[in-house]
């Protein structure tokens, strides 16, 4: 990983800012770029585990009845797939990894506001991840509750739920502290001359995300602690046999977990807002509208949680209110999509891997968003709630959205981080395979969901077989695409062609600094007065 650059100043790979050597110079580093990379490697490692669990689910569903595992194993597998993907992969993916690496540079800063706290967040993340993995191998079997931990089932089951919810509690703290750090950094560490109106849209999206992390995550922390209190002490807050209310749990859970979807997707929207203008060689269309819509999504998205509960038995009045609010949150997302497309208008477009991933994001996220309208509408939600329609919708938004956003970010900032370029043709091939595999995997699930196939089913009625089989074949194609993509990036990291400061011709501040950047990010004062999307005079430096 020790890359040589032509820059006279050593890169952050060479200069750790301390006397520590080897692994210690990483795991005790307070450099935002090193911490960001450690998040990235962990996230990608856990992503591969999550993908393997997902492939096992798809394989089990290839035929009705038992295919490769027993029902109890299947229930544990989908629970772990959810817990790992949501709490360990998707939530920290873009904000903790690329947010850490890129945000301070976008602000013209040398680091985040609280570098030690940043390292502490990473350690909490590692402890939480370790505990989550520990829950697999200790106690009375891996948890089988689904990632939602719904009561009373999560009180009822004898599997190792305690360790798993405690892991979620700790992961939550990691997320809260990162959010706090980013908010302070954006407020206090912008370089002189960098006004709010010149903030990159990636920074705006992280700012909106950070507020949700700080405000909503504590509720998750409290909720999972209450599950522990129920299980260990038998307090009776949620258990109706002891005078508790299981619906209360669902409210608490979704007050965090719906906004969490925006924690997942907003940073990816930020990435897309960065990529599209660079490859269209023109300013982003409607900068203010996109920035404001990020804040709108964060705000309105915090008020729609109970649309997960239309069938829970809550009042019809609540259904009316939450259905209406849900439709309102659709509008800022639509505004973003239209602005991205409009940015291409009269551009001078370079079709390269980062742009393809950004366009993939727009296509898949739009399908995810539009099918979300079916779920926001009360009458139609009743039919498809808790069916494969929801599973598919969710994966279009989170995998098609955040996942492709993450892949886009990886391909976009790869040359900046490593100072080398991957093979673009292979990257394009991988993208095409991923798009085919993805749609083959998830689109049939919309259909069987509409036909009434409930989610979290180990076994299914024979009429759903065809949809499941197409989907499973899609999962194999997707896996091939992922392997090609990762191998290509790995090869690029080891032996790709060296690049200069600005291989894509971007205008945000990271493209003014050497690739990879030095320890304190800049070797000369960045020009902060130009604005992040002003491409006049910007040359490609490949």
């Amino acid at each position: 990983m020790q890359n040589q650059t032509s820059s006279p100043i050593p890169s952050f790979f060479e200069d750790s800012g301390s006397d520590r050597k080897g692994i210690l110079s990483w795991i005790l580093s307070t450099d935002h770029k090193r911490i960001g990379l450690m998040y990235l490697y962990m996230v990608l490692g856990m992503f591969i585990i999550g993908v393997c669990l997902g492939l096992a689910i798809r394989l089990e569903l290839f035929t009705p009845g038992k295919t490769i595992m027993e029902a109890q194993t299947y229930n544990a597998v989908f629970t772990l797939h959810g817990v790992i993907m949501i709490f360990i992969v998707v939530i920290p993916s873009i904000p903790a990894a690329f947010g850490n690496i890129i945000l301070p540079i976008h602000l013209g800063a040398e680091d985040v506001a609280f570098p030690r706290l940043n390292l502490f967040s990473w350690w909490l993340y590692m402890i939480g991840t370790g505990l989550a993995l520990l829950s697999l191998f200790t106690g009375n079997g891996p948890p089988d509750t689904g990632w939602t931990f719904y009561v009373p089932f999560s009180e009822f089951t004898t599997t190792n739920v305690n360790t798993a919810v405690f892991a979620v509690f700790i992961l939550g703290f990691s997320s809260i502290l990162t959010g706090l750090n980013f908010i302070t950094t954006i407020h206090r560490l912008r370089a002189p001359g960098l006004k709010w109106k010149q903030l990159s849209l990636f920074s705006w999206s992280l700012y909106a995300t950070a507020w949700i992390q700080v405000l909503a995550t504590p509720i998750l922390g409290i909720t999972v602690l209450l599950i522990l209190a129920e299980r260990v002490l038998g307090v009776g807050l949620f258990d109706p046999n002891k005078g508790g209310d299981p619906i209360l749990y669902q409210h608490l859970f979704w007050i965090y977990s719906h906004p969490a979807v925006y924690i997942m997707v907003l940073p990816a929207m930020g990435v897309v807002s960065e990529i599209i203008p660079v490859f269209a060689r023109k300013p982003i269309f409607g900068y203010k509208a996109i920035a404001v819509s990020s804040i709108m999504i964060a705000f309105a998205g915090s008020l729609v949680w109970a649309h997960h509960m239309f069938t829970s038995g809550m009042s019809d009045t609540a259904v009316l209110i939450f259905s209406l609010l849900t439709f309102i949150v659709a509008i800022p997302s639509a505004i973003k999509v239209f602005n991205w497309i409009a940015t291409l208008y009269k551009g001078s477009i370079f079709i390269e891997p980062p742009l393809l991933y950004a366009l993939g994001f727009i296509f898949l996220f739009s399908i995810g968003g539009l099918t979300g309208l079916v779920l926001g509408s009360a009458g139609t939600d009743i039919h498809v709630h808790d069916t494969y329609f929801v599973v598919s919708h969710f994966h279009y938004v989170i995998f098609g959205g955040t996942g492709f956003g993450l892949f886009g970010a990886m391909h976009f900032w790869f040359p900046k981080i490593y100072g080398r370029m991957y093979n673009k043709n292979v990257a394009t091939t991988a993208w095409a395979i991923l798009m085919i595999g993805f749609n083959l995997l998830y689109f049939p699930l919309f259909i069987i969901g509409l036909q009434g196939m409930p989610r979290r089913y180990y076994d299914y009625l024979p009429e759903y077989t065809l949809g499941h089989q197409i989907s499973t074949v899609g999962s194999w194609i997707l896996a091939v695409g992922l392997i090609i993509m990762f191998v290509n990036l790995y090869n690029g990291m080891k032996s790709g062609k060296k690049v200069g400061r600005n291989p894509w011709g971007g205008a945000t501040l990271e493209w003014y600094t050497p690739s990879p950047p030095p320890l304190l990010n800049f070797d000369k004062e960045p020009d902060t007065f130009k604005g992040p999307y002003s491409f006049k005079g910007v040359e490609r430096d490949e």
Binding site: A71, I247, I284, I341, I349, L359, G379, T380, Y457, Y460
Partner: protein
């Protein structure tokens, strides 16, 4: 198709139609831009930063569209919630991992029988964890929550059979928590609801016994009432008290006829002399049928049949197989009188699964947990003694 389903499907069509149009539009426009403004054809990008009118257009039009979608959805939802006042009521109890339907006359079943073209309202609850009652064909779904009443209603439509699925994850047998809505023509439904749980052809002799009031004092299943039971009465060794004192006789045909026509002449020991003579009330023909019945027809039901129905309706078979295969709990097959290793208060003990043990396992299953199984069975302490005895009898029939 009923009115409610119509409203829901209209909402589906509207949302899908508009979404499809939007999707096609943005995809085609994006592809067109990629082609038209590729850097080889369009080397100099126009530096456009925005356009207020465009921004307003794609804020206001989507706003109107989503409000329309909301309205269609809400109309459909209202239709799902407004149960007609004259709906037929059925109580639904969900439990791991089966459904129990209780009809107004007290009859219960594990599949839902309803008359055609009738609004049916289901009042639902759960005894353990949250389940969700889902009938895709009727577009209805509602969670069943322990400690809470929820409801769904639907118009049953034409005679047909539809799937019932559990839609809220509830543990290891979640995907097997299936049942059916069986929509019957009104007459067939009426016939179904008015029959007893076990629709057995009743032998004519039992009708004769019923009509003559015999069964008020004599049981046919072995229970002691006022008089001796009729079960296995034929050729039974019986001690009788006559004017001459006690003697033991075989209850043959001649004895039985005499005992019916002139009961006071010979009284079975330990019983009161209170049965009226039936010489005049009972025709020769009926008497013959009774004797024939005593000789061959006993007992009226197969052993264990009642218990099997209870096991099905109470959902026992959702977790316990009857053929020896492993589900969630131990199989009923050869369960009685086997040796088990159970865990009580954390200690392993060996014991015999006799009827006392089995009864305690039904009423308070948490006391002993069979080694290798989870403590997940709810207590069935609401069962009547009679039902528990029927279950035990049923379990005994499952021994090889």
């Amino acid at each position: 198709m009923t009115d409610t389903i119509n409203k829901i499907d209209t909402a589906f069509l509207f949302i899908f139609g508009v979404s499809f149009a939007i999707m096609i539009l943005i995809t085609l426009v994006a592809i067109y831009f990629l082609y038209k403004y590729h850097h080889t054809k369009h080397p100099e990008a126009a530096q456009i930063e925005g356009n207020l009118i465009a921004e307003l257009t794609w804020t206001i039009i989507p706003s109107i569209i989503v409000i329309a979608m909301f309205w269609f959805g809400w109309t459909g939802y209202k239709a799902l919630r407004d149960a007609p006042a004259d709906s037929m009521l059925v109580d639904v109890t969900a439990r791991m991992w089966s459904w129990k339907f209780t009809y107004p006359n007290g009859k219960t079943s594990s599949e839902l029988y309803v008359p055609a073209n009738t609004p049916v309202k289901l009042n639902m609850t759960s005894v353990d964890v949250i389940h969700s009652f889902y009938v895709p064909a009727y577009r209805v779904k509602m969670d069943t929550v322990p400690g809470m009443q929820t409801y769904v209603w639907f118009d049953t439509g034409e005679p047909e059979t539809y799937e019932i699925l559990c839609a809220e994850y509830c543990g290891v047998r979640h995907s097997f928590m299936l049942s059916k809505v069986i929509v019957l023509p009104q007459e067939e439904y009426d016939a179904w609801i008015s029959t007893e749980e076990k629709p057995v052809e009743q032998p004519e002799a039992i009708t004769i016994l019923e009509n003559n009031g015999c069964l008020d004092c004599h049981s046919i299943d072995g229970t002691e009432l006022v008089g001796p039971t009729l079960k296995d009465i034929y050729n039974r060794e019986t001690v009788i008290v006559t004017a001459d004192g006690e003697k033991t006789v075989k209850a043959d045909e001649a004895y039985l006829i005499k005992a019916i026509n002139d009961p006071s002449s010979e009284i079975v020991k330990n019983y009161e002399d209170m049965m009226p003579p039936f010489a005049e009330d009972l025709s020769k023909e009926d008497l013959g049928k009774l004797i024939e019945f005593f000789k061959t027809g006993m007992p009226a039901e197969k052993p264990g049949e009642k218990g099997a129905v209870i096991a099905e309706n109470e959902g026992c078979t959702g977790c316990h197989s009857t053929d020896g295969s492993e589900l969630v709990g131990p199989s009923f097959k050869n369960m009685m009188d086997r040796d088990v290793i159970a865990i009580k208060d954390g200690k392993k003990i060996q014991l015999k699964a006799d009827s006392r043990y089995i009864i305690s396992s039904i009423v308070s299953p948490g006391e002993y947990i069979v080694d290798g199984y989870d403590e997940s069975m709810p207590p069935y302490d609401y069962l009547e003694d009679e039902q528990i005895m029927a279950l035990i009898e049923y379990f005994n029939t499952l021994k090889d």
